[in-house]
Subunit: 468 residues, 2 copies
């Protein structure tokens, strides 16, 4: 390996081949602190050509490669295993916004650009790049693409997949595929772009992308509606979409226990309703016309929902500050959960129509198997994505309860499977859910995935142990 490392130093300069435990630590630690990997070195190339040259060196010496962006992933997809055989290839120095083409509504970026910087660069040109996630201040677009990140704007704008027109990828052989096309229509052969998106770095390394931009809305208005049940939340979704079409840009479900938890852990945050309700929905409407238009539309739709007894109460934010304070309730749910102690998380999706029945069926199964456990269920109802988290019963220690993790996961995921859902809606598979994938996917689908992996990465050096 010393010849290999010598070659890396020659390619990058020794400053960018990190080899000490201290230098490598930030690249080896999982974001949630569940795992610390080990690596031969951390490589920090500054250009696509350097990435390609490094991959060729790795291929020659059969060194496994773990590509890494902001290392904010939630499924152990961007950290190496404990063998110490792999290198981490950090894209962090590829951080140039290459081009903004307002008339084409596209932006061409390096994979290492931070998501928030991309959002800001778009806004500076009067455009919107809609992808938005909790980690946007530190995650990179290469990681977003490799994990097909979701977030709160999927309802209107789709996942990261739908926000990308073209890619630049370094293959496991060290070739550069220039697929940086800014085209809305292009039917010339197989869709390689979508194959690399969501492949978590197991088929190649994304080094650049052409992103879609949208017109910046003139105004966004928020409301919080209260109702009894998930069935009513679903009826509200249909009504809002019928009334508002693409103007509906947010639809977040939160159960009673979620807001109670926020009230308990963050008593300073204002709670809009005096009485408790079974469920709440945070609504966001955006208008390309005017704030007045958005308010009128939202009030008309909410009026219809009240008239139809779909909801029992609602508040519409009348200022940006009020709007932010409603969003804060939603954003503080995971923070309140973290303050309250550890819990068992699930990032699942379902056909939207089946969510009420899924909750009604799965909650009693949990209650039966783990008496008095607390279900903290919230999420992006508009795209069928629930964060279906299970906390210990009152008085039971969190660590003791976490001993049930595998059994709780299995119960929830079995139910997801029965309802035609997905065990990973937006976080991916990584190393964390690899065994679950093998358990829940059909043999036909697994065989198809394995043959694609073998065809594109026959040496098996790209992010081994992830997904498959």
């Amino acid at each position: 390996m010393s010849a290999f490392l010598q070659q890396c130093r020659h390619l990058l300069g020794s400053d960018h081949v990190l080899e000490t435990a201290q230098d490598m630590a930030p690249y080896l630690n999982d974001w949630r602190g569940r795992h610390t990997g080990s690596a031969l070195a951390v490589l920090r190339p500054a250009s696509v050509e350097q990435v390609a040259a490094l991959v060729r060196a790795c291929a020659e010496h059969a060194v496994p490669i773990v590509p890494q962006g902001g290392n904010t992933g939630l499924v152990l997809g961007s950290v190496p295993d404990s063998s110490g055989r792999a290198v981490v290839l950090s894209l962090g120095r590829l951080k140039r916004i290459r081009k903004i083409d307002v008339a084409n509504r596209t932006m061409t970026v390096d994979a290492g650009c931070i998501l928030a910087e991309i959002q800001q660069a778009a806004a500076a040109e009067g455009c919107l790049f809609p992808l938005s996630l909790a980690s946007e201040g530190s995650c990179t677009i290469g990681g977003n693409l490799s994990s097909n990140a979701g977030g709160t704007a999927v309802l209107r704008y789709g996942n990261t997949r739908e926000l990308c027109l073209g890619l630049e990828v370094v293959t496991p052989q060290g070739d550069i595929w220039d697929g940086l096309r800014g085209l809305r229509k292009d039917n010339t052969g197989y869709d390689l772009r979508d194959l690399y998106i969501g492949a978590e770095g197991t088929l190649g390394i994304i080094t650049g992308a052409v992103l879609k931009l949208y017109p910046q809305p003139q105004a966004s208005i928020t409301a919080l509606a209260a109702m009894d049940s998930p069935e009513q939340a679903l009826k509200l979704l249909k009504l809002m979409q019928d009334y508002c079409g693409a103007s509906l840009t947010g639809f977040e479900l939160m159960s009673r226990i979620c807001l109670a938890l926020v009230a308990q852990q963050f008593p300073a945050l204002p709670q809009p309703f005096a009485a408790g309700h079974g469920q709440y929905v945070l609504l966001e409407l955006s208008s390309n016309e005017s704030e007045q238009h958005a308010v009128a539309l939202l009030e008309r739709a909410i009026g219809a929902a009240l008239d139809g007894a779909i909801i029992s109460d609602a508040v519409v934010a009348t200022s940006v500050a009020q709007s932010q304070s409603l969003w804060q309730l939603r954003e503080h749910i995971p923070l309140a959960q973290a303050k309250a102690g550890k819990n068992i998380k699930h990032d699942i999706s379902l056909p939207v129509s089946r969510i009420p029945e899924f909750i009604a069926t799965t909650a009693p199964l949990l209650e039966q198997a783990f008496p008095a456990c607390q279900l903290v269920c919230f999420g992006h109802l508009g795209d069928g994505n629930l964060h279906f988290n299970v906390a210990p019963p009152e008085g039971v220690g969190h660590d003791a309860f976490l001993a049930n993790q595998a059994a709780v996961n299995r119960l929830v995921h079995d139910s997801v499977q029965r309802f035609g859902g997905s065990i990973s809606a937006e976080h991916g598979i990584g190393a964390l859910k690899r065994d679950d994938l093998a358990h829940y996917k059909s043999p036909v689908e697994l065989a198809l995935m394995r043959s694609i992996k073998a065809a594109l990465d026959p040496q098996g050096i790209m992010n081994p142990g992830k997904i498959l």
Copy 2:
């Protein structure tokens, strides 16, 4: 082969194994009449299980398979070659709408469903399936998916790819992959769905799909704007998107010569402007609120475009009949071209921002190489897709001019390549553009496509000679 055919008759019943020239003719003729293929037989299965059994029989006897839907493709993708070795596998009997789930906004269909019937079934439930093409009365959704069809609604709703959530596919080994998921978010491994979409039946046979539905708009309003140049059309596009966002559902460019040709061939169609203008744009706005809302928004945007001297004139349709007569102008361009005689067609796309420069550069090159040839340029400017057709000079016979086809294609496609465009925006590659694909794609991209083809169809029996 007689054992093989015997096996097919056993599987389907002899009525559904067509072997005479007369019975097979409709399945062997290209839609545009440019080619008649030859086949061992035409197989007409009625279920996905029958498709799988046939594919296993074909694999066993190494019989090539040409999957076929409505056989309306434009690139010789769904007809066999002249060898007579292949079978045509028609999906026409798989025509069941399996399920409509309004609350999930999805419809699950067999691959052989006719596009227009899918649109109607969605409308009957108050929903919109937005895919719309000239051949919608006879093309099938399986063909739309296999060719990733485009059409006039791509600006707002995307290509067929963006309208599909899940697939059912029979692999070249005769296995059934059940990927019929109705999920908006699902990050569990490689994106097989998008690999099969647009693969033109060369990787497997699509037998079923889960399609996305949208709320049916309350109203659609049409206008025709006149301007001097493609630059101004591009400025109008930006203005319309900024003002109207997702309410802008159509933006079709037509040059002066296009409307002149329609006037000449269809003198009964009303022409809205007395004087000729350089370019025209057909605009469509849709609203989920009301017709009044759509009209007010359209008038405000058009007013701004007139004030800014981006356009020189405009008419807004004030009735459904007027709206239809404006769309008729657009739809009669290809018909007028067909009546005027043969011409050399190009289905290209470009970054939207580069279209004016592309036209300004390419038209003089054509004029220089083929003096007095006539450029009939129109298309979906909003998604960068031009139908860039070249007709003979006045007085030159069409057949004589068509002798230049290869040279004209090369000139136009070379220019497309220089501007970062695509030589097939929405029609695909088939057998017709296979050599062009090999010429214009990078060796890296071709190698990636070939290794995927070899991995999934190692026997090479799926639609051989198409794409690669």
